[in-house]
């Protein structure tokens, strides 16, 4: 683990520079915000296929006879329902029902799990895990510094992956697989952060560049494009995915964030269960809602949302949506009840722009089969 405050670089840093990526500091990591254009990269993922370097994300392995029991304690989702070869989205609650992190838990085999955590929270999460693991027969291994991660997203992701790793192309949505790439053990999951089909390759650092270059070379005929953090943020917001630290944090609960579906109160005791159970019974006092501008304008983080002329909250994530060709955002509104279609306004640079509450996700890919 690094103690330096210098920005960290992924194994792909030089590849990004060669491809003309505009490098920014993202939570201490030097990563490309874009190569040529956020909108072009967004469109590549919606129409064809995009590659993302997400090597900044963290990987914590939990192994041993007590791994399941331990993960049940720290997760709001029911980890017992994740069969070997499957993944699930989950929140790590604190005692108050706030969110320590949002994660993808994959069951690689019985008693062997991989938790993919956010970059900025990986050290915090690992410390939290170690603290909570006392008394459990589980080995925790933070491999965040050893692994890189490449996300391949879009309707053409599957045929591209078919060329590289046929077994990965056969994975079902939210499937997980251990396989060898270039003779090196890796993990592939059928997951993503874009609202399109795709896979995420979790591979040791020494083969990341090779995998990236092969994906770009093999992807030429599919119109593959390297994509930066800018496109990633727009795609994830359109698809209704939360950004930890911006949309959720330790002081907002999973119910307030609109992710009540993942809280499995019936699975037995877990951290934050009583707080979440109480909130479910009493109802939330604020809720994350989606807002779409009805006139031209680009909403920003922090923009006030007005309901009946009164400020009901502020937007925590907001952007221009190329798919909807409108400004969109999510924010906690202190009225948890506004139904989609409710008229509101977003204050932008002193101007009140008409808007309405809409369902999240803002965008559903026509390429994904219903229920997939």
């Amino acid at each position: 683990m690094t103690t330096s405050t210098l920005p960290r670089r992924t194994a792909l840093f030089e590849s990004h520079q060669r491809l003309g990526g505009r490098i920014v500091d993202f939570h201490g990591w030097e990563l490309p915000v874009q190569y040529e254009s956020i909108i072009k990269e967004h469109d590549a993922v919606r129409d064809r296929c995009g590659l993302f370097d997400v090597s900044h994300m963290g990987q914590i392995f939990a192994t041993g006879p007590g791994a399941l029991e331990f993960l049940q304690k720290v997760n709001a989702n029911d980890i017992a329902r994740i069969n070997p070869g499957r993944s699930a989205y989950s929140h790590l609650p604190n005692e108050r029902g706030g969110v320590v992190d949002d994660v993808i838990v994959s069951c690689l085999a019985k008693g062997r799990y991989l938790v993919v955590v956010n970059a900025a929270t990986s050290d915090k999460d690992f410390a939290w895990f170690l603290k909570q693991a006392k008394g459990f027969d589980v080995a925790l291994d933070n491999k965040s510094d050893d692994y890189g991660m490449i996300s391949v997203q879009g309707p053409k992701a599957a045929p591209l992956i078919e060329l590289m790793a046929p077994a990965a192309a056969r994975l079902p949505r939210m499937g997980a697989l251990e396989l060898e790439l270039y003779g090196t053990p890796c993990v592939v999951t059928r997951t993503g952060y874009t609202g399109e089909d795709g896979v995420e390759f979790i591979v040791p650092n020494h083969i990341v560049v090779r995998l990236w270059e092969d994906l770009i070379a093999q992807g030429q005929s599919f119109g593959v494009a390297p994509c930066g953090l800018g496109a990633r943020d727009v795609l994830r917001l359109e698809a209704g995915y939360l950004l930890y630290g911006q949309d959720i944090d330790e002081s907002h609960t999973t119910y307030e964030a609109g992710c009540g579906w993942l809280v499995k109160l019936d699975k037995g005791e877990f951290i934050g269960r009583s707080a979440l159970a109480a909130q479910k019974k009493d109802g939330v006092k604020r809720r994350l809602a989606g807002v779409k501008l009805l006139e031209r304008g680009v909403p920003r983080h922090g923009a006030p949302v007005l309901l009946d002329g009164r400020q009901a909250g502020v937007l925590c994530s907001a952007t221009y949506s190329p798919s909807l060709q409108a400004g969109i955002g999510v924010g906690y509104l202190d009225r948890p009840d506004p139904v989609p279609g409710t008229k509101c306004a977003v204050s932008l640079r002193g101007r009140e722009v008409p808007a309405e509450v809409v369902e999240v996700p803002f965008y559903r890919s026509p390429h994904l089969k219903k229920g997939a």
Binding site: V33, S37, I38, I39, V234, R296, G297, V298, R300, Y320
Partner: protein
Amino acid sequence: MFDAKTLKYQQSHEWCAADGTVGISDHAQKEITDVVFVEPPKVGRKVKRGEACAVVESVKAAFDIYAPVSGEIVAANAEAAKAPEIVNREPYGKGWLFKIKASAPDEMSALMDSAAYEKFLASEAAHGSH
């Protein structure tokens, strides 16, 4: 289409033609990238040099556009408001933003010519301000 070489510039990256037409430089459109919203000033508005009088927004951020000279806004580019991507495509042509009838024409001579602006960009790049 204006010839970038004949235009005057200010440090906030607006260009100004001899007839008072104002836009953003090619460097600025590249930095801003993906313009998705343009809010030009109202025709008839009186502006002072350096006053924020228009907004250009990209997917990620909003940028104020400052009047390079004082005067009255005599035209605003409705096309750019309708199809903002033309600011990226033709920053010195169809992507112009507004036109000022200068009230103090000597302000124009205080602006940088294209060689001075190029030099300014080079020094900015050297200082790593982006």
